[in-house]
Amino acid sequence: MNERGKKYLFDSEKNIKRLLGFVYSGLGVLIVFDLFYPKHAEFPWEGWTAFYAVFGFVAFCSIVLAAKYLLRKIVKRDEDYYD
């Protein structure tokens, strides 16, 4: 897609779909594994089914949303603010 018409790895929709497919199938495999493997846990909640999956997902979303809708509203200024 560049000036010479050369196609790079992620210029192809197919490759992006492959990458996403890898992530999605990884999610599935990990959840199946999580369901059947008896986990060693320091805290009781670590033994809950898919604890780390849910925690990771919720933590990630909450960090991004809090930064975007709360922190950015409070601290964002123009680049020349101090000039």
Partner: protein
Amino acid sequence: MRTIMINTVPPALIFIVGALLIPLLKGRVKSAYLLFLPVLGMINLLQIPEGTHWVYRFMDYTLIFGKIDRLSLVFGYIFHVISFIAFIYALHVKDDIENISGVVYGGAALGVIFAGDLITLFIFWELLSVSAVFLIWARRTGGALNAGFRYILVHIVGGLCLLAGILIQTYTTGSTEFGYIGLNGAGSYLIFLGFGINCAWPLLHAWLTDAYPESTVTGIIFLSVFTTKSAVYALARAFPGTEALIWIGAAMTAFPIFYAVIENDLRRVLSYSLINQVGFMVCGIGIGTQMAINGAVCHAVNDILFKGLLFMSIGAVMYRTGKTRCTDLGGLYKSMPLTSIFCIIGAASISALPLFSGFVSKSMIMSAAAIEHMPIIWFVLLYASAGVFEHAGIKIPFFAFFSHDSGIRTKEAPVHMLIAMGIAAFLCVFIGSYPWPLYSLLPYPVEYTPYTVSHVLAQTEMLFFCAFAFILLLLSGIYPSEKRALNLDADWFYRKGSQVVVAFLTKIFDELFAGFERLFVKRIPQTLAAVSKRPLTMATQYYASVRGETGTDTEEPSVLPEAASLIPIGIVVLFAVVLLFALTAAFSL
């Protein structure tokens, strides 16, 4: 205690004295010499046995330049390794000031970690700040100049804090030894705070995110290592097991992750990430068990490597494109594929993906928190781990090398930069896959197995679902677009605060000087001139005016000032007389 070392010298000496020769050398000889210094330093360090060396008397104090034990040694090794990598990365740099500053800065850090007494520690601590500021100024932009001044001002305050603490501590304990101090009395609190400023504790951290991104492409590699990690060492030496550090560390891991999401400049994102990672170490030192201290030290070593690698990869982008903002970058994997791969390895390492270095050290700190039954701290650290993956694991490589195609087509990073990144990347993977050589260097025996099925599963599961969240947020358009903007941080207080103070003082001094000008430049000379012209007439007129009589026979308009205007002079004279008397009385007593 005095041990005569025939074949070795204090580790700091090789760097600091070695720096003096740099201006005399040219071309390839200079490059070879810069690479030779850390190699020589490492050979020297390997020859030094554990113990206390280079003990000198200075006035009433004992200066110790070589406190060599397992804690200081591991920092010493990694400082030499990263210096070697950083000098390979910086081989294109022709600026002597930058090269000398880098070498002296590394030497100062070695001086700090091998210092056996508080005075030696303080001397090298100050040298650390002074040499660092030249790495910032070396970029020679207005922004770098101002950020450098702010950097040095904050560190002067920190240094004074440390000095005051050392003086009080020495006075109260009668010893200048640099060992365990613990929070006990004013001196120890001031030392603690002095260390905290260099460690970038919350609210004391803004110098880091303000100044580091303003430094040069190569300067930031050195900066990301020495100041914060030598402060981590100092805390591990003097304040292990101090409960306050657990909470300070946890706060350090948590707050930068939000800033990193909305920050546009990738080197500033990495600076926030640096505070976040140092937070894990500080927390481990606060927990204070052998496992936690091992975890903190191990994570310091790993962070030096993977954070260095990330800074190097973004530095290579800056070197080639002159840009570091997300809004200006994207699609660079097409031009810089190797740099992209190295960046991804750094990102995987900091995110603690299994087989990469962060995995074998961060979990040690978290396990230590779990063993000590600290669920809140454990949750904060786990939450911060998700944040690390967001900003360093995904954001850095994604916005620089993938994302939308910025249209920039440039060359791959120069060979020397690729070699430096390659070495760091290799070490990240090696330590991640085979951590035992590093474990064997840690201060305490390691009884920790990172690779259990539970641990690998838990970490991989969390990271994959974080990635899933990213994909959903990105595809739905909720993920915040990068914006050209500035985000206020704790430096607002002194950057805006100083403007208010300057405006206030300017107003006061303007009025004061205007008053002085009226008095000394106009009124007093006018009066004296008039009096000296016709003293008798003036005295008569003055006498009459004081008595309230108005002269009818005045031929010329009076130039004599009104009596009221002489009051300030009277007050000053009175004040001077009183002062003179007071001084005389004071000295005669």
